[in-house]
């Protein structure tokens, strides 16, 4: 238990009649980056604000480093928590220089050469030459890094990042992702990273928590979340996924594109849904085939096809960039995943029968 930096138990928060966060349970180990991911309005920012102390939970308790910071009778204000935060809009103080911004969180009492700490932090984020500038004179990426430096200088026990890259251009976002992850890992920071971008979450998080309507749907490693989604929502949110209805039969799962030889723990005849990503689907032109090509998008390294099945259902499939077939071509479609696919009954995953 010693290396648990943060623990939330049964934390709920309601704004009027809107439930923002419902019975949230969460733990973050020391030196770990947790990516909190979900669609906008799922409560992930509220969760962050509850941890930082900007909001007070209606129910539940929050521990930081084994100290209760919030329960029905205790509420530690944000300035006493030692939690750093990087805001979506950076929230740099416009009337202070970069240096003053970064030095803001240092207590006057701490005798350990504040100037030196600020300078080394600016060096860490690669902006030691910008110390005397004002925030409005910086580029978006620079502001981002100053916001990070400012939050890190007081050595917070936990760092919170609220969609920090959402205001950056796509190119810059990729670069900042890498830079920030290198910095966080380099100083062994414990952090929670909030994003609505599943790709960003997969890259940034040591662990992922997928949130939906105020609850955590699944908590696990990035690989776990991506390959073994526990709910239909997670499968849908984490990748471009089509859901193909199927029926449990003796030799596998029977779908309209044939039987998938995958055994699951469910009685015969159970109605299920199979999560299929575009790379799990194969097809070939065939005069009497079971599907029709509706459209092709050329994506450089590959072609992305939209196919229409006999039932009218749509299925997406990747094909090599050399395989160019016009819309309207009849094809035969089959599933060829090479690994077990996630199967859902009642929106919950059914574990495979090994």
């Amino acid at each position: 238990m010693q290396d648990i930096a943060l623990k939330l138990e049964g934390v709920s928060k309601q704004f009027g009649v809107d439930v923002a966060v419902h019975e949230l349970n969460l733990g973050v180990a020391r030196d770990q980056v947790l990516a909190l991911v979900g669609p906008s309005g799922c409560g992930k920012t509220t969760a962050l604000r509850l941890i930082a102390g900007f909001e007070r939970p209606d129910f539940g308790a929050i521990w930081l480093e084994n100290r209760i910071v919030s329960d029905p009778y205790t509420f530690l204000p944000p300035e006493k928590r030692g939690v750093g935060m990087v805001f979506q809009d950076y929230a740099l103080f416009p009337h202070m220089t970069v240096f003053e911004n970064v030095a803001f969180g240092l207590q006057a009492k701490s005798g350990s050469r504040p100037d030196q700490r600020v300078k080394s932090m600016l060096t860490l984020v690669g902006l030691e030459t910008r110390a005397e500038r004002y925030p409005h004179e910086l580029s978006g990426g620079e502001r981002q890094r100053i916001a990070l430096a400012r939050a890190l200088v007081p050595e917070p026990v936990l760092l919170l990042l609220d969609e920090p890259f959402s205001n950056l251009d796509a190119d810059l976002r990729l670069k900042m992702r890498e830079d920030v992850r290198v910095i966080l890992k380099g100083i062994h920071a414990t952090a929670i990273f909030v994003t609505h971008d599943q790709e960003e979450a997969l890259y940034m998080g040591d662990r992922l928590a997928v949130m939906n309507v105020g609850r955590i749907e699944q908590l696990g490693s990035p690989e776990d979340i991506f390959h073994r989604p526990q709910t239909r929502f997670v499968a849908e949110f984490m990748g471009n996924t089509d859901f193909l209805p199927a029926r449990v039969v003796a030799n596998g799962l029977e779908t309209e594109i044939g039987v998938l030889p995958q055994k699951i723990e469910a009685p015969l005849d159970t109605a299920v849904e199979i999560a299929m990503r575009a790379d799990d689907v194969s097809f070939a032109p065939e005069a009497g085939g079971n599907a029709l090509i509706l459209a092709r998008q050329f994506r450089g390294v590959m072609n992305f096809y939209r196919l229409k099945l006999p039932s009218g259902r749509l299925l997406h499939a990747y094909a090599p960039h050399t395989q160019i077939l016009p819309a309207g071509t009849r094809v035969r479609v089959w599933a060829d995943p090479g690994h077990p696919l996630a199967v859902f009954h009642d929106s919950k995953a059914i574990s495979p029968n090994n």
Partner: protein, 546 residues
Amino acid sequence: MARLFVRNSDPSGQRRARPAWSRLPSPRALFLLWLPAALIAAAILLPILYLIIRASSGGISAWVHILRPSTLAVLGRTALLGVSVTGLSVALALPLAWLTQRTDLPGHKLWALITPLPLVVPSYVGAYLFASALGPRGLLQGWLEQPFGITRLPDLYGFPGSLLVLTLLNYPFVLLSLRAALQRMDPALEEAARSLGQSAWGTFWKITFPQLRPAMTAGGLLVLLYVLRDFGAVSVMRYNTFTRVIYVQYQNSFDRSAAAALSILLVALSLVVLLAEMRWRGRSTHHNAARTPKKSKRLPLGAWRWPALIFCGLIIGLALLLPAGILLYWLARGLGSGEQIVSLWQASRNSIVASTMAALLAVAASLPVVILDVRRPSRGSRVLERISYLAFALPGIVVALALVFFGANFAPWIYQTLPMLGLAYLILFLPQAIGAVRTSMLQAHPSMEEAARSLGKSPPEVFRRITLPLVRPGIAAAAALVFLSTMKELPVTLILAPIGFKTLATSVWSSVSEAFFAQAAAPALLLIVASSLPMAILVSRESSPG
């Protein structure tokens, strides 16, 4: 499962909700924010409540007074003047705003700078200058008598004079509102209309004008509100609208419940206009783009620039140059006959003292109200903000009257003292201060304060080091606005100032009411100069980037 783990490890029962007391504001917030804000709201409600009590205590007769034909005539005159001034102001401001913002009118920068300037002229000063020059036996008549034998000009007093003066001094409210809307508007919309085949004229009526309509209506309603509460112009022009009748009633009769009843009627009228204005103001500002739209290309006027120039020139000539000329004339006459510099010096000092007091009071009072409204929104804070805004619907004469009644009956120790005057100014000008401070508080994103707190600073320190520097422009603007308004203010100063406390405004008033026009010139000029300074600051802030 995580959820099971929680149930096992937590026998203490974290499902319990926070106790009710933890939902109350902290003692610090209660003491520093809620208490002052509640006191301010009470101070604003005090006069109006007292007026109602007073009018009721006059029994049925006071209310019967409201229904008399003479009262209905007052209502009719007030409405006629209000609607006429508003309509005429819009008719002047719409072309002025468009010409100065969107066309290549020669010297458009200069025109943009000087067209709002009539706002700095107090209405009684404007009225005095026009009356003394264009009145039936004014300066103009004097000059025309010798060569043409004209012994009397058509009567300016009454409706025509009031209409002229109030329109020329108040059209800038519509102009500024329209200009702000034009600056906010995305020029790409107009360009899109042109690319779809609309002419410049068609684009204006089909695209630009509909987008300006909320701002135009809001500005027009503001003019209407100012006409309703104007005391100076209608008094000098002797037009019996509400404010003048109330003042005359107050001065001449022992039974003041009739004045109270009239005041209540006037407040009710102002409230209706104010609520309408709030509604339209909201519509005009809500859908504005977060980023500043790029600068639009100015439309070439071609030969139309000549009529446009004549139009602008006529307005400025009538609203600025003519009064300035008359003022200088009277000033020269006054100086020639030996003006008492001492009394002028004293009046200036008193004006500055009163205005500074009002500015400090209003800014200090606005802070708790704004902080509660913007940063801690709740039903209570919204009610407080609404109450303080409703003070806009209280004409000066009504506030003065209410405080006179209240002071004479309940607080004689404060009656006709500077604190009493300060209280009246506070009630009158708090909405202006709140408006200015609120705007800058809204622009300062709360995440900056949260960032400061997550960096270990306590709320008071965050306020001192982050919030205050961020809203400083708003505070400066609020102080300037209140200073300007107090400087120009007449009825409250007239009625509530301590005996012998002569300000520039009351000096002008007393000289004009005795027709000593030359004597009024020097304090009037000082008044205009002093109230131009905050205006200059505001205008330069508006035109500066960002």
